[in-house]
Symmetry: C2
Subunit: 715 residues, 2 copies
Amino acid sequence: MTRGQAMAQDKTAVRKILDAVKADGRSSLTAPEGKLVCDAYGIPVPKEGVAASAAEAVSLATGMGFPVVLKIVSPDILHKTEAGGVLVGVKSAQEVEQGFATIMANARKYSASAKLQGVQVQQMLAGGQEVIIGAVTDPSFGKLVAFGLGGVLVEVLKDITFRLAPVSRDEALSMLDGIAAAEILKGVRGADPVNRDALANVIVGVSQLVSDFPDIAEMDLNPVFATRTGATAADVRIVADWNPAPARYRPSEDEIVRAMNRIMKPDAVAVIGASAEDGKIGNSVMKNLINGGYKGKIYPINPSTGEIMGLKAYRSVKDIPGEVDVAVFAIPAKFVAQALIEVGEKKIPGAVLIPSGFAETGNVEGQKEIQDIGRKYNVRLMGPNIYGFYYTWKNLCATFCTAYDVKGHAALSSQSGGIGMAIIGFSRSAKMGVSAIVGLGNKSDIDEDDLLTFFEQDENTHIIAMHCEDLKDGRAFAEVAKRVSKKKPVVVLKAGRTSAGAKAASSHTGALAGNDRIYEDVLKQSGVIRARSLRDLLDFARGIQVLPTPKGENVVIITGAGGSGVLLSDACVDNKLSLMAMPADLDAAFRKFIPPFGAAGNPVDITGGEPPKTYQNTIRLGLEDPRIHALILGYWHTIITPPMVFAKLVVEVVEEMKAKGIEKPIVASLAGDVQVEEAAEYLYQHGIPAYAYSTEIPVAVLGAKYLWARGAGLI
Amino acid sequence: MTRGQAMAQDKTAVRKILDAVKADGRSSLTAPEGKLVCDAYGIPVPKEGVAASAAEAVSLATGMGFPVVLKIVSPDILHKTEAGGVLVGVKSAQEVEQGFATIMANARKYSASAKLQGVQVQQMLAGGQEVIIGAVTDPSFGKLVAFGLGGVLVEVLKDITFRLAPVSRDEALSMLDGIAAAEILKGVRGADPVNRDALANVIVGVSQLVSDFPDIAEMDLNPVFATRTGATAADVRIVADWNPAPARYRPSEDEIVRAMNRIMKPDAVAVIGASAEDGKIGNSVMKNLINGGYKGKIYPINPSTGEIMGLKAYRSVKDIPGEVDVAVFAIPAKFVAQALIEVGEKKIPGAVLIPSGFAETGNVEGQKEIQDIGRKYNVRLMGPNIYGFYYTWKNLCATFCTAYDVKGHAALSSQSGGIGMAIIGFSRSAKMGVSAIVGLGNKSDIDEDDLLTFFEQDENTHIIAMHCEDLKDGRAFAEVAKRVSKKKPVVVLKAGRTSAGAKAASSHTGALAGNDRIYEDVLKQSGVIRARSLRDLLDFARGIQVLPTPKGENVVIITGAGGSGVLLSDACVDNKLSLMAMPADLDAAFRKFIPPFGAAGNPVDITGGEPPKTYQNTIRLGLEDPRIHALILGYWHTIITPPMVFAKLVVEVVEEMKAKGIEKPIVASLAGDVQVEEAAEYLYQHGIPAYAYSTEIPVAVLGAKYLWARGAGLI
């Protein structure tokens, strides 16, 4: 296959081969079958042919070029090497002629009765860089294509990268840069670079093949010899699964948006199991709705009482006179199914299933039952086994937890109730602005991609932060996340990341596909910012929403403490931020404001004993100069410039610049006595993520914002 | 060299070669010189010899074994390959005979006038694993020996490890496990394992060689062919530096201890530049000493006044009637030298040099001047350019910063004043128990190894946490840290870790020796816990001192939130903690206390709605069972078990067990509303490092304690 040539794709040929393998009762393809499949998809394999005579062997070998490999072809000889039936590195026509004779003689000696069909002549690949290209089927992500370097060292280092199949040519090319040893492919120490297009062609071909044929479960091209001129798969291994798992049900995007908008921003809520009795979940939900200030209609459902907390109660949702948007369930698991049928009959589009006692306690059947009811009546299910959800802009607190009402632009979700409580506690403690907090629990229906689809078009949500332990449909999530992350930052804390997929894999690629490596690659490709810890998730959710989007990569550190400057620089490298190389004129401009022994350059070290004016002047300059795109401030507590004086002057300069239309992301690290905590809070409340006693967190927050802006193509 | 054989070390031979090279005006050794040096230290190199005739070549080749390499030997032919003077892979006596003739003929054809001395016959190495063994000279650490895999891939991945030279055999062996690709050496996919002893011999030899000869600046054995039977250096490169830097001055350990004890725990302090005037540094120092409750004698030094803050002032320290242990300087830089001479004449063993205006502002000479005075009079210098220091158990606050008096067992130091202020602020905010906080600033004299030596024998210090940007004498630090860390945990935050050593290196090993990689390896070998961030440094200092030392590796997670359990498990893997495989009987014992749908195993998931008793029972069991060595608690805020109820019950169980002589490290992660913050603080104050909204920090603290305990050989 030459550069740019359209991929040959003979689907009929592949189908025929697979059908024959299936009919044969096998799930593995033989090497020749594998090669035929490759041929059908334009994936280069070594040239080969079977020669019945020495002359024919010479002619074949001359045609494909030396060296070649000679192998006996006989249905009666299984162990070719043992029979003396293999010669490698055969270098000339003369050697081929001799070799043919030798192999035939050896074979006859080995087994006088064997039927000899001739000698296979095969192009011998060598030189270039050995790589591995493969494909696997993941229960959550479906077909994935893999690329890595070949050889044992790479196996030991597990340096391999994955993409959802099929991939575009650009995505395929991105895989060549997606491994730690990427530099090797460019040719180091005088070695030839590989032909990137040829490799990309093979990757695209493999990814297309497994996408076209869901019953190809795993595939290995190992090794592929990549040279300056081409890429050829020396060995092909294909494993089929004749009963591939069906795709998870997904409503259309329109349907999701319509239902989710009614559920998340309802005008009427029914509380099934509403109670007047303190301590009951149905009581907590009622209190949270009423005291939270929800302005829509609230319908308590309870068969045994006429009025609950001053509101008329109904025996069933079916008795409610008007339309209802969402029903919150606060009844034991065993009553859920029947109530859900009534919700369905009432045509309520969403059910928030707080009750536990389903799949998480082993009651898989009970969960299946409600899933089926939901599907039958077209009711979307949130949960079960959740705390419910908050939507602050509607003053809606459809949960049994404590109310939360700080309106803001971060939407958060958690798979676990405990983590949900941590989100609420942190939010309250940090006064974080929130649009929604959602518990997903068992995810019997509504999952992360439904939430993303809703938050994408929700005007109150500017950033989405999610905790999850698995993705029920990783492929759907990746698709939606890729689109949404172009508009709004998506941060994901994927828990369980160290529990390597224990599934025994039959292919090499499969064995290298540690579950987390796939999450890592797919989330990255989807433009998702991956939080490495719960605190990161929370800090990013809090900080990203207040930071303006940077317009370029030039970051400048202005610090009163040289020591902070060094640590802040370290953090910039860790978070892939570019410290701007200071232009001479700008350097001179900064120097005007700082003592002669201070260091300009970057970090700008204004030194420790400086008055407020020095901070003011340098920060103003940093904001005014259009070559600078973001500032990191390092404050050092002194008597001359106390913490709150610093905080207020920073906010003043920022407001002054904002009035002139200048807005840049700024973060701050405050080193000092406990008063810096108040100063940090003040700064944060004025749009400057600031942290006491930490040089790394503010920079990580800025780094996350940058990561998003780059992925969204904004810088 | 065979296994276990003592290393041949012919120092005289090496000295002679080096002297000849030096006399020759060169700094690089030729290949033959390099091989002779290797011979002298028992480092195997390929066999070789020069043959004047074909017969002699055959005899040499037969003696060393085939294949061999043949090379023309002629002082007049510099480009041997160009001259057709090199043949590789010569496989038999016949080929050697032919080859000899070919090479001689080619050489004559290339240059008729060239003087041909014969043909060099060299053992050709191949097969086995290529590795690189080398040595470099670091300005701070001195001689270091390096080990890595050979080949381009490893170069790209920079997979190399360093040790201070010389190394013991055990240290050399540890290097084989110190690279990421270590598994390769054990033989993967059927490959031969390397001979570890042979490799260790070469490493030991190289490390001894560079230690014996300080003028060997860099050395490369690249590649070394490591096989099942041996290790042979195919190529030797040695670079000399005929003017190696002199070692930094170090007093004896006894002298350090004696002086540091007087400085850190003084009975009499002089304040040079003491002032009654508010806002002056000399006033702040006086206030802090007096108001801090220091019980020793305080002598204000000030020429212009008779009494300061009720204490008699002196014109000079020389006027003080009694003995003085330490002089705190609060005068401008320009007056320091003269006052320091007086301090020396008064035989005060220590000067705390708060003033800035020395090397950090470019005044290198001024700093050199005070260094010389200090050495002349045997006065140890702390600083200059520092905030001073605290020693809480003496109520000593010899600084211009705010006082700090929470007595405890963490000693902290910082190179930077800003970071020092962050330490004080964090400590106060977290109520961290501190023995000392020390500013090191320019480190003109007293540095980290002096502090370590003092803290090692200081009964009030149980853990040492240090921030540094460089180590003036990394070798001394490593030596002391290795000893101290066996007794007390040493945590280091090395700032500037991402500023790769920019020094142009002439060897391959040198080019791979990114400055931070050396710090990483040496700190690890010294038993130092490396903090990755300022918060880690602070959290480790706070937490490690309150945690009892674990007696074994079995960690059990007990959690009310399944979601926390997953994240806590992730954190265990990240922090190299072993989740105990739960024995059946213990599993059954836990199950007795938790609901049937809860999960035993590890994490023990007691589920979310449980009363205090369930936490109590399971935690008690975790403490009582001797197979469990540490507990990680995951709390989930519920109405049934509110945060403070949880915190108090945990402390009760812990106290109950302590009364029975059972003490195990416990950390806790609290998920819930803001009340969990109070509960976390309560737990911390009772010896249980606990964090709200974080699953990762408590586990990192426990991980640090484990790291230390393992390094100290306690588990």
